[in-house]
């Protein structure tokens, strides 16, 4: 596969390591009332989609960017690649 890195352009997937569902960016608030349950769901529950899937890739053999890649799990078509830090900020994460 070829991942179109937002900073570096098209790169072979071999340069990346894969983590999994981009929902791993949605780390719960440790002080919420049902923190344990939220963390349990965050850690273990995933949608197993046949189709478009947002997932985390790490450019380990490159610039060390974490990327959010939107990939069709049926065709491997990649429709968007973004810096994870940009996505995190857009989703309201900061510090």
């Amino acid at each position: 596969m070829i991942i179109n890195h937002p900073l570096l352009g098209p790169r072979d997937a071999n340069e990346f390591s894969y983590l999994g569902d981009a929902s791993l960016m949605h780390r719960p608030d440790w002080q919420s009332d049902d923190a344990e349950n939220q963390f349990y769901e965050y850690q273990y529950l995933r949608d197993n989609k046949a189709g478009m899937h947002r997932e985390l890739w790490y450019h380990e053999q490159g610039d060390r960017s974490w990327l959010v890649v939107t990939r069709n799990t049926l065709t491997h078509e990649i429709s968007s690649v973004e810096l994870a830090s940009d996505v995190a900020r857009r989703e309201g994460r900061s510090r």
Binding site: I2, M25, W30, S94
Partner: protein, 982 residues
Amino acid sequence: MTQKNRIGGGLIDQNRSVQFDFDGQSFEGYEGDTLASALLANDVKLVGRSFKYHRPRGIFSAGSEEPSALVTLREGAYSEPNARATVTEIYDGLSARSQNKIGSLNFDLMAVNDLLSPLLTAGFYYKTFMWPAVFWEKVYEPIIRQAAGLGKLSGAEDPDRYDKGFLYCDLLVIGTGPSGLMAALSAARTGLRVILADEDFRMGGRLNAERYEVGEMPAADWAAATLAEFMSMDNVRVMPRTTIYGAYDHGIYGALERVSDHVAEGSEDVRQIAWRIYTKRAILAAGSTERSIAFGNNDRPGVMMAGSVRAYVNRWGVAPGKRVAIFTNNDDGWQTAHDLQGQGVEVSAVVDSREQTTLLPPKGVRVVLGGRIVDTKGRLGLKKIILSDGQDVAADCLAVSGGWSPNVHLTCHQRGIPVWDDKIVGFVPGATLPMGMAVAGAAIGVMTLKACLQSGLDVGNSVVEALGRTVSKSKTPKAQDEVSAASAFWYVNESKGRAWLDLQNDVTTNDVKLSHQEGFRSVEHLKRYTTMGMATDQGKTSNILGLAVMAEISGKSIAETGTTIFRPPYTPVSIAALAGRSRGKDFRPARLTPSHDWAAEQGAVFVNAGAWRRAQCFPKEGETHWRQSVNREVLATRASVGICDVSTLGKIDIQGKDATDFINRVYANAFAKLAIGKTRYGLMLREDGLVMDDGTTARLSEHHYLMTTTTANAVSVFRHLEFCHQCLWPDLDVQLISATEQFAQIAVAGPNSRKLLEKIIDPEHDISNDAFAFMACGDITVCSGIKSRLFRISFSGELAYEIAVPTRYGDSLMRVLMDAGGEFDVTPYGTEALGVMRIEKGHAAGNELNGQTTALNLGLGKMVSRKKDCIGNILSLREGMVRDDGLRLVGFKPVDPAMSLNAGSHFIGVGAEAKTSNDQGWMSSVTYSPSLETSIGLGFIKSGDQRMGEKVRAIDLVNNKSVEVEITSPHFFDPEGRRLRV
């Protein structure tokens, strides 16, 4: 007589004679011959025995689809089994031999299998040889494996070299027949970067095998002229002998180039290159493959594909027989008759399964319309054919044409499903193609010459436009369309003898019928039960016949029955080519410590730690067992001073205004108040609450930390920290960089370590116990101004330091320390002594931090802060992970001090039976402690912290060993830690 079947003409060079051997006999061929064409020229028809029944088999085709003529090439370590004679270029000195036989090829002793064939039908291994059950593994299977089969590997290391390579292009054209050449022309003339690949050593596809005219010259000449134009263009790379074997994601293709398979063994060339080709567009112009017709005993040597017979006559100037009969269900078979007769080869009959045709037969040739061949005769080679009316026709070669199947294989590698086309009677590519692929010519069902040229041009032009270029003014050369009517006729029902579908796996029409009768209705099941199409040829000449038989029995159409999915590789690719140079010591790179050369000079024994080579111990003269060396290194370190290269530990440099906050969140223990110039042990959890790693982190200045990780987890911890920063807390002001490779770090341990360091550290730096206390860290200089860092940390339990210098000084630092330490009898120690001392101190390492243990298990439960947000602390508090009766890391000593311990032993109560339900835990690390003069171990046992002094048995069922042990504190040596702080 030599080359009695050579009739002359063709595309071989009769001035260049080539000598080769087959089964020990010497033969002559010409440059341009394949092994198959040269054997046929020499009237060798029997070339092998079949897979299961050991039936005599000959050459069936003239290309990569060959199911039958598999031979072993070359000798000794260079030998290669299962090579297809039809694609093997001969060269002077080539030695080939037949395979899968006992005794001679003519009198194969295993041919008895053919008489046993009623026992060996589809799925036989599920049905026969079932009793007695124990015989399967010990008797039946080894015998069947010995009897069935293909050629054998030499067992010797492959002496050839292979490479991997990467290519980039705008357009990859796969196949160089009329449509491929035309497509490439249209693109190349616009300046696009084009790669043109063909599996054959002579490019041109069927243009080389036919007597057509293209552009008012012989087709092969037009192909050669067109290829010459490509060779002169800088933007075109022409790759003969290159099979595109797979279509992968995003326009990436796998290609195997056979660089020097056609050169005598031992050449300096790389043998094969596995290319990965990155394309913007690809045009599949892979042509089509002729398929057979099933009838009784249709597998005899001499029965061949009609188009291949034509290729041998036209391209290689070889008559595959003196008297050739034709059996066809389509117009194309007739062309073979015309070409044979045109070259003066006798054609004894044309048998067409169709009731009528408008085609004119070659002069004087008997024509049987509506004809059926029901049987053939000739033990080791065809002598005659029997028609359904009982008449026989003399023939030593039968040219069979069951129609042509488009080579859709690569269109299916990305889930594409071919669709049935009634008009051409074959599967054509479906609507879903791999990204960027277009298909031209026969591969998409365009079956005639002029139309193929036009198809190539059209598809080529459409790619040019899609890539934003202006279409060139290329036109197709003058050419004619040949007759090409096809019909659906698959097998001769009247045949009494076995009618073969898959020649390579010995599958007959009866096997397909049996499989249907036994309930295998899906084509994928049919395939696996009968093994049809599962051999190295992947059923290129036979699959559709099997589907058709299946469709007919089940009363469905072929379109409804569907086809099995094609997967890479298109033709076999050797593992050696895929490995390239990544084998032996080059399988992966080795990482060497900065003091590696020095350690090697000392005679160190090295051990692999991941990719690292680390000194395991430093044997001295007279030491006959590694244990002696290790004990000496431990005792010398504890008595005076030892040094050890610990550069392999991961080092992560962390800087930024929020560095403190960041570190406090990724470690489970408190880090918010670490003083500048101090180091602290850090425990890192995964988010699931299990321990990920541990190490020490030094605060070098207000906003600057240096974290260390274990050697094994250096990469994964760094990845994790980047994840935490970029994905969870993107606005924390923190920067991370790996510094593992940048610093050489040497542990200096033992009561005299300070005295030794004082000799090399520049005098302005005070490292006395008061000025530089336990866990202190700071920048210093050594040896008159070399910048270094000093950490007063200890893994050994002794007064100890780790000193870091830029990597380039690591070797010197080791030598300087050894020189300066002479008066203290300084001793280098390796990873074994390091391990002994850490077990004596009860420190957890890899065996304990195995990804399944919690801080509580390790006795570090109190370190996990509940007062801050940090990775893993919430889930570490889950009910099941904080049980009072959970596993705890404790120490174990044998009750009899003379006994040794085994890691991996399980703990069982003294009186209890050694079974799983009585299992209380396991021993994770053991060593002989020279300091305590007994074996000691660390292990996890239920409620271990509350069971000090209790005795249990450590049972190792693998080694049949049981030792009574006493539960102790894991801190065997200096449990108060007094030695650290002096």
